[in-house]
């Protein structure tokens, strides 16, 4: 019963810890490893306007939920213009207005985007397209053209691909030659493809976007075609019929209309500039989850002030150190001074490095012990003696710092980070064990403590571990679960296999067999 209960708690904690961590990793994009940088793009739309004297207004389509990309951040620069943003069902737009514009001006819109998905999200089927009204003989020509293509295609996607290829062929089918001027622009060809697709009742739409290039200047939007295959919009290159967007294509707006509609302007020009940035992956994920309005991130350590964050970076490692202590004491069976003293020593090793830390620790404890033995001869009371040891320890630390600094060894300076009260208590404990149980026991336990501290340090200083527990603190629930599990471990400790090794021969020696000693009391 108690076992089942524990098992349930352990499973629950593990499941919660792991699933929250998985969600943050998989959905919010928090990196599992430190120092990962993600690629983000800054896209700037520059709208150069040459207003007249009348009140001017500029409506500009803004990207909303572009396929493959997530919008991390956006901003507007438009001095002296009134700005509102509005969104209709699938399109967001910014509206700039000014009553008395004067001279050439440039409006800026800047967006930071991040490619985070390989798949295009499904979207509801908009219903079959309404066939365009065409006069004969154009109608028959279009229909027979569509029929030809239908015969050679398997599904909506291949149909659309074939159709686009036909429209772009250098010598187009005679049936559609009538629809197409020889010098038709890309947009016109796309528009034609959409009309022809509508004859086959396939919903299709135009999309416009920017090719993201590093340090790209004066970019103009490119037109693309999207057909709905009843699950999602499938992009098709209207020039080649290739399926899918290029990797660095950012869809800006949809529909057969320009991005800009203006009134009261003499001239307007829209260009794009793009830059590639590398950004800390954690930061990107954080921004992204803010945009996704994830409730989870309201409880993130990443929102704390930096110095509090740094405190938690260390604090979150203490449970891990505690787990190591549990493992080493209850499963391996190493004896240490004080239960969690080695964790605190390990924390201070973070500043001194391992070798330096071990040397300094040994040095201070050895010197402290010598002084403690001297104090023993003075027959002091316990508390004053402890205080005296603390004072001596601090003096020793200062001395070590000064001497090592003189010698040009910087490592000695970090000795000040040792928890001196813990050191003093350790010295006191070592000396009591030394007196009561002999130097062997004292040294064995001191070495045990140092080994445990070193192991705890090696785990706690690991950059991956630090990162993992700071970004995914919910993993502590897994640590807790594991600790609870060990709490019920009743098997042998590794050291007991050595301690009880005499049983290899003892058990035989004690077999009930009459010996010269004539032992009574064998089983009757």
């Amino acid at each position: 019963m108690r076992r089942l209960h524990l098992l349930f708690v352990v499973l629950l904690l593990t499941a919660v810890g792991l699933s929250v961590a998985w969600y943050k990793y998989d959905t919010l994009g928090f990196p599992l490893t430190p120092d990962r940088e993600t690629e983000t793009w800054t896209v700037e739309a520059q709208i150069a306007v040459d207003p007249g004297t009348a009140p001017a207004s500029v409506r500009f389509a803004l990207p909303s939920d572009p396929p493959h990309y997530t919008l991390l951040d956006e901003g507007f620069v438009s001095r002296g213009w009134g700005l509102t943003t509005q969104s209709s069902d699938r399109q967001r737009e910014a509206v700039w207005t000014k009553r008395n514009p004067e001279g050439n001006q440039t409006l800026y819109y800047q967006a930071t985007v991040y490619r985070d998905q390989e798949e295009i999200q499904p979207s509801p089927y908009p219903g079959p397209a309404a066939p365009p009204k065409l006069e004969e003989p154009l109608k028959s020509a279009a229909e027979s053209f569509v029929e030809d293509i239908r015969a050679g295609s398997a599904d909506i996607q291949t149909f659309a691909t074939l159709l686009v290829k036909e429209v772009n062929a250098s010598r187009p089918d005679e049936n559609i030659a009538a629809f197409l001027k020889p010098d038709a622009t890309e947009t016109e060809r796309t528009r034609l493809a959409i009309r022809l697709l509508a004859i086959a009742r396939i919903p299709a739409r135009m999309s416009h976007g920017v090719m993201l290039t590093d340090e790209g200047r004066n970019l103009t939007p490119t037109t693309w075609l999207e057909v709905h295959n009843s699950r999602r919009w499938v992009p098709i290159d209207p020039r080649t019929g290739t399926v899918g967007y290029p990797r660095q294509f950012l869809v800006w707006w949809h529909g057969d209309q320009p991005a800009l509609t203006t009134s009261g302007l003499e001239d307007v020009e829209l260009t794009f500039a793009t830059t590639r940035n590398l950004r800390d992956a954690v930061e990107t994920a954080q921004l992204q989850s803010t945009i996704a309005e994830s409730r989870l991130m309201d409880f993130s350590l990443l929102d704390l002030p930096i110095d509090a964050q740094n405190t938690y970076r260390i604090l979150l490692l203490v449970p891990l150190g505690a787990l190591i202590i549990v493992l080493l004491r209850n499963v391996i069976g190493i004896r240490t001074f004080g239960t969690f003293m080695p964790v605190l020593i390990a924390l201070s090793f973070r500043e001194t490095q391992l070798v330096g830390g071990v040397v300094l620790f040994t040095l201070i404890v050895a010197l402290g012990l010598a002084i403690r033995f001297y104090l023993e001869r003075l027959k002091l009371l316990l508390v004053p003696r402890l205080a005296a040891v603390v004072i001596v320890v601090i003096l020793l630390m200062a001395l070590i710092s000064i001497v090592s600094h003189r010698l040009g060894l910087d490592i000695g300076l970090s000795v000040g980070l040792f928890p001196m009260v813990i050191l003093a208590m350790t010295i006191e404990r070592v000396s009591i064990v030394w007196e009561e149980h002999g130097p062997g026991d004292a040294l064995a336990q001191a070495t045990g403590s140092l080994v445990v501290a070193a192991l705890a340090y090696l785990v706690m200083v690991n950059a991956y571990v630090t990162h993992l527990f700071f970004v995914f603190p919910e993993l502590l629930l897994v640590v807790l679960a594991f600790t609870l599990l060990i709490g019920r471990y009743t098997g042998y400790r590794l050291t007991e296999l050595f301690r009880f090794r005499a049983f290899k021969t003892l058990a035989q020696a004690r077999r009930p067999e009459p010996t010269g000693n004539d032992r009574p009391g064998e089983p009757r």
């Binding site: 508390v383 026991d441 042998y492 009880f500 090794r501 290899k504 004690r510 089983p523």
Partner: protein
């Protein structure tokens, strides 16, 4: 020398050897209610309780509870030239000072069991350390007890060196489970502590005879200092000693208990102290795991229609808990 490889956990389990984790998790945690711990952790309480239950303990000369009472030491000690000072809540036998006799009156100097001289001031300092909690768990303030110095019986004289050999019995659900004699050696500095090199000798439950001993987890047949064979010493009053141990279990309410008894030359078996977390070395000393005996007691107790008296339990143990080897 051949390498002394560790034993396999499977073999240990077969032998029924109890590990630290199992002892803590399955026996101490389940059989010993925490509220009863003070009864054994506080030796002063144990002593009072034992006296109420009619069990024999070393006589208490006095208790020193605060620093200004240290001056009253002479009053408590009175004419006794031999006495023991120990912390009431000491852990693992730490902080026990054994005074063997008076060396001189002016200045007042005593002699420790090791033979070294110790002045009254040094004794006072030791007491103040006890009071400050130097030897208690967690450094809590403690009280110092001054009590009768056991004149240990010559029974083990040949197989111990200085110090007081004691008999440790583990009592499980009121039934004496296993016993051993702890014999001090030069190496253990006269202390009956197996960690420090004292010899643990198993005791045959039925007759109370010592078996071979173990020192540092190795089998020994002869005491290293006296060269006398360890096995075959018959402990007198074995039945009443086991009854005492069984009564301690009733008295404290602890289901898994270590009872330490010393044999006094004049007073017979005296209860020295009780332990709610008795060590596991007793298994090595007896060359047998505790597990199988525990199972036999469990079986027996589960089929009982009435509670047995301490005498009945001691007799049952003597009859049924003989060594059982695989």
């Amino acid at each position: 020398m051949a390498i002394d490889w560790p034993i396999s956990p499977r073999r240990l389990r077969e032998l029924g050897v109890l590990g630290m984790n199992q002892r803590n998790g399955e026996f101490i945690a389940q059989m010993n209610e925490r509220r009863y711990y003070p009864l054994v952790d506080d030796k002063l309480l144990t002593k009072e309780l034992a006296e109420e239950s009619g069990l024999r303990v070393p006589a208490l000369y006095g208790v020193i509870r605060s620093t200004h009472e240290i001056k009253q030491l002479a009053k408590w000690v009175g004419e006794h030239e031999e006495f023991v000072i120990k912390p009431a809540n000491g852990a693992g036998g730490d902080g026990i000072l054994v005074i063997d006799g008076k060396q001189s009156d002016k200045p007042l100097v005593y002699r420790k069991s090791s033979g070294r001289a110790i002045g009254i001031d040094a004794i006072g300092l030791h007491i103040s350390n006890i009071l400050a909690g130097a030897y208690s768990l967690g450094g809590r303030p403690d009280v110092a007890m001054i009590e009768y110095r056991v004149k240990f019986s010559p029974l083990f004289e040949k197989i111990s060196f200085q110090g007081v050999p004691d008999i440790r019995t583990i009592v499980y659900r009121g039934y004496p489970l296993m016993a051993m004699v702890r014999l001090p050696t030069t190496q253990s500095d006269g202390k009956a502590n197996l960690h420090q090199g004292a010899i643990g000798a198993g005791v045959d439950m039925a007759g109370g005879h010592t078996l071979d001993g173990v020192a540092h987890n190795r089998r020994v047949t002869h005491h290293p200092d006296t060269r006398e064979p360890i096995s075959g010493v018959a402990i007198p009053e074995w039945q009443s000693l086991l009854e005492m141990a069984a009564k301690c279990s009733d008295m404290t309410g602890l289901g898994y208990l270590g009872v330490d008894v010393v044999l006094d030359r004049e007073l017979g078996p005296l209860i020295l102290e009780l332990n709610a977390r008795p060590g596991l070395s007793i298994q090595v000393a007896n060359g047998e795991g505790l597990r199988h005996r525990i199972e036999r007691v469990d079986q027996h107790v589960d089929h009982l229609s009435r509670d047995e008296t301490a005498a009945e339990r001691a007799a049952w143990s003597r009859e049924h808990l003989a060594p059982m080897n695989l």
